[in-house]
Amino acid sequence: MENNRTVGTPLSRLEGKLKVTGAAKYAGEYNVENLLYGYVVNSTITTGKILTIDSSVALALEGVVEVITHENRPKLPWFDLFYADMDAPPGTVFKPLYNDEIVYNGQPIALVLANDFETARYASTLVKVSYKSEEFQTCLDDHIDKARDAKKGMATMLKPPPPSPTGDFEKDYARAPVKVDSTYQHGTEHHNPIELFATTTIFEGDGKLTIYDKTQGTINSQFYVANIFGLHYKDVRVLAPYVGGAFGSGLRPQYQLFLCVMAAMHLKRNVRVTLDRAQMFTFGHRPPNVQRLRFASEVNGRLTAISHQAISETSRFEDYTEVVSTWSHKLYPAPNTLFEYKLVPLDVYTPVDMRAPGGSTAMHAIECIMDELSYKLDIDPVELRLINYTDTDPSTGKPYTSKELRQCYLKAAEQFGWEKRNPKPGSMKRGNKLVGYGMATGIWDAFQFPSRIEMVLDKSGRVTVNNAVTDIGTGTLTVMTQIAADELGIPIDMVTFSYGDSRKPFSMFQGGSAMTASTGSAIIVAAKLLKKKLFKIAKSMKNSSLAGVSEEELSLKNGGIAGINGSWVSFADLVIHNKKPIRIKKMTMPNMLKLKKYSLGTHSAAFVEVEVDQQLKTITVSRAVSAVAAGKIINPKTARSQVLGSMVWGISKALYEETIMDAKLGKYMNPNLGEYHIPVHADIGELEVIFADEKDDMINELGSKGVGEIGLVAMPAAIANAIFHATGKRINKLPIHFDELFESEGYTPLMA
């Protein structure tokens, strides 16, 4: 049987059935023997000190085994470096239960351990804590004046600060005939994957730990644990076979991992710590942000001056940064530029990357100001983008390895029916609804990380591909299996992709939409090596029909090796001849030498229709079309799911999602999914995804870029622009509440 290639076909997720039937086990679902259940006690003040912490009532409860606090915790290293994980920003990593200091509201201050979860949770309410509160600052809006530059560190490599100014921005902006000056904002957001953060630690004795952790990086968690607790790397095994979403929140080890391992080692027992939904609001988040943009152009629409100044929140102890102010110049050429990015440290936990970090924030502002400019110029918004279109990256002067953004604009516009748009705000109606059309551009990185692959061919002819990477729900397992199967010319059921385990060869944490490009490219490189090895063995088989045939004449076929003369040897026979499984290991890095000459990026265009009720102003996203250019699409089904999910997220970011900070209390007030609004089915209209044809021989072995985030970046601006088109009102703060569209100055009721 000739094997059909599966790359490019819409294969369903291989683990789909396990997931929907509940058979897939997550970190908090390993019911090992003698398990203790930990429940975290969190600080109820924002800053200050713990004066006393009294666990006696909790300990007296039947079933409670131990309460660990900063007072009775086992000895821990004091040196910060031991706590730094692979994604730690510059600063001092937070050390749970380290001392009596409270640095943010919700900080973990004790771990209650009991024989069952409910007892632990109840006992946590019986731990009596007295505090000395101090003053705090938690609201970005109130402290904009304290903005300062970000400290530099390791993280700066992936997130460089904005480039230096070019030309003379202020002068040109003053001169330019057409200009817009606008400020944009969004609030705090929390990732809220449905799977709660949890860790199960199996205390193996003899210094060994097996840990099921909710993480996007098994090796990151492994290093973190080994470093802090003084264990050999090889003795710490971290597994994450299934991850129920993470969206960035699992890029760094979270405090449940630390507490769980500490308790297991302290008590020499198996321990599980599961956070509850409210506790999901006590670690990383997308930081609130304020951006001022000034764009100027000639009357023909050509941009001459662009400035993007962004101010973002971080914690007092780490300088978390995002790439925000750099994006406009990666899209639009302008001789005069001025970019700034500053931080305001506040008494909150350190933010952490959340789906399309920085990019979704920036593109909201950039594409809204482009819309505003298009109205000042009286040029169609799509036309304005095309006037300023470029195949090179203006910020570096280098060409993109590929950029089919123009195709995205044109295909999506046509599919959407953009030509039916009457540009006049408020001019299109449907019954009681004002109808608005809006569009926006998306751009995102095309990262590739180092990845090491082990491939093993066994005597049944099966190939096992080993790598430590996780599958955070994106379809990694399926896609990697497809890539390996195609490259080796065997059906996908002859390939086992074995992953989610720190014992497997190296992978970075799963983020930045980089895994298909990273792990996938590494699989191709490894498969080529394996092929070579197989040819060599084939040729050396004395009695085989392939003996002595030259390599150019050999090819992979039907789970074996074929010569041009019709001769064929099965993989199984090769292994039998070899007397042991055939194995190769290979580290693949991005080809920096080649790529140095290019800029990399994925692109998209989103077109959105909203309906706004004429009197009540309620907003509905009735339909949206996104076109994405991301190189070769390995699996159109899982890729489409990624983009659909991102589009929904974009709707969420534009209209719903916000964590409410009560500045007086220094505390988030809606830490549950009832009040932290993410869209429900009723909020989602018709969504369409188009993939542009984009051929890219340069970028990596696969010719593929990631699609995990690009679908999100263009949506918020497209929605805000559509709302403007419907109502004539620009609301620059996300999420947009419908009542902000009221026209009047309010309504004064009659006196009582």
Binding site: D613, Q615, K664, L665, M669, H681, F738, D739, G746, M751
Partner: protein, 339 residues
Amino acid sequence: MNDFEFQQSATTEEAIRSVSQNENAFFLAGGTNLLDLWKYDITHPALLVDINHIDASDGITEKQDGGIQISATLSNARTAYHSIIEERYPLLSKAILAGASAQIRNMATNGGNLIQRTRCYYFYDPHLPCNKREPGSGCSAIEGYNRIHAILGASDCCIAVFPSDMCVALAALDAVVNVQGPAGERSIPFADFHRLPGDTPDIDNNLSHGELITSIDLPPEGYAQHYSYLKLRDRHSYAFALVSVATGLALDGNRISSARIALGGVAHKPWRSVDAEDFLKGKPATEESFSTAADIILKGAKGYKYNNFKIELAKKAIIRNCLMALDPASQVPGAGPSR
């Protein structure tokens, strides 16, 4: 969760006896609110008395006066989809279906819906001052994030709202709540069931400890010809009302012979104005009449930093919903504004 006793009652009397003998006993119906409050460390029942197996009438029965009686333990979902409700009291059906989610409505009961507590953020955090949870501790919401709070009938002690949708319709329909307690049975007109916060915001309603809601009566007039329920909220489903309106109109030609308008999401109880309803009597069913009625309903409304918009929203919502009531077919699933 603290340790507790659990009892399944076979009869109303037994359930009442058990609860009234223990200060910290609770009836357990669907559990959709009680268990949440427990998990959030707000309530700590010592005894749970499960009333789901009481073999009273668990359906809807026709009464001699032409009205109906709805069992308190019937689920919200079964009530909403019951043919009598759909045909004769569609306003109630629409209001119920605008609330919560399908799963919650399947569990939630009619009795529990009346007793559910506010969704004020500060009430749900046991570490913050809240006069409703901890009388005398203060109100964190008045100067806090009060987007979801009251504009009518609030006090300096509490500005929380009663979150039910179902009860807004019940208020509009002049329902009567039948209760049974250690001292016997009584019937409470709906308007007198819930309370305004005053200086005792810890008391939500006029039910005494140990009193069980057994059923809810509806009078014969169900406003089935001209009715509408409108719910405005921060997402299209599965969110509590910022403002909701239940309207029932009886028309005589183009003139209004009788009107009912109740608001949800604006006060500590479903809000009705007899003055406004009296005003509408005999008036033409026009936007102008409804606008004046809205002014009367919203008399004395007071907004706070984050919920001031509710006053304007409520006015617009009342007008729109009354217009929608003239053409009930204009209602859309999810109780949003008509197309």
